[in-house]
Symmetry: C2
Subunit: 123 residues, 2 copies
């Protein structure tokens, strides 16, 4: 057993705040989708299975505020807006891709663990 003393490690709140934000599943899905190329609001809403217009708007606003996504008004009439990853967004994306791939590869193991746990809980 590791010997721990109280308060020997304070987790940095800003880091926790960022993990909290990027840990949001909708944010992850929006970022992965924008990594396929810039995209307009309605198209994003269509391809991200299960997201509501309201939730997509909130998610995009947060990602824009954090500097991961840019909102670009295209010089056409009527004006069109598209969303794209910034350099910071691309940097985050490479992290998330690894995590996404990991989750995909380990899905079966996690599902098995849950079944085992639930069986024991029911026993």
């Amino acid at each position: 057993m590791a010997n721990r003393t109280g308060g020997d490690r304070n987790y940095d709140c800003p880091v926790r705040d960022i993990l909290d934000r990027i840990g949001d599943a909708w944010s992850v899905l929006v970022i992965l989708e924008l990594a396929r190329g810039p995209c307009r609001f309605n198209a994003l809403c269509r391809v991200i299975d299960g997201i509501s217009q309201r939730m997509l708007a909130v998610t995009l606003r947060r990602l824009e505020r954090d500097g991961f996504v840019s909102r670009n008004v295209l010089p056409v009439a009527p004006p069109q807006v598209e969303y794209a990853l910034t350099d910071l967004g691309w940097s985050l994306k490479s992290q998330l891709s690894g995590l996404y791939e990991w989750a995909d590869n380990h899905q079966p193991a996690i599902r098995q663990a849950r079944e085992r746990y639930d069986d024991l809980a029911d026993a």
Copy 2:
């Protein structure tokens, strides 16, 4: 602008479910702490800044159910319980360390982006 057709990509729900779980900031912090070595409940509660006993209990139960953490009863009197990472937990931990490091390195950029965004919103 990328050309997207509706429904050309359905995000896998189990993957989303897993991202959701591991995106939880408390889970991340517990996993990073257990990577320092097996640990008892009270010690975890002390070193993870800001977590309540209830939230720690919920988090550990989830992590155990997902197969990331094992709960081991030590053969001592009175019985003691300690928590440790499983192999699956170690595998996830290496993913999370990368993300944590990224968040730490990019904190200043994200903070600056937020300030810029909020300044424009106030203007």
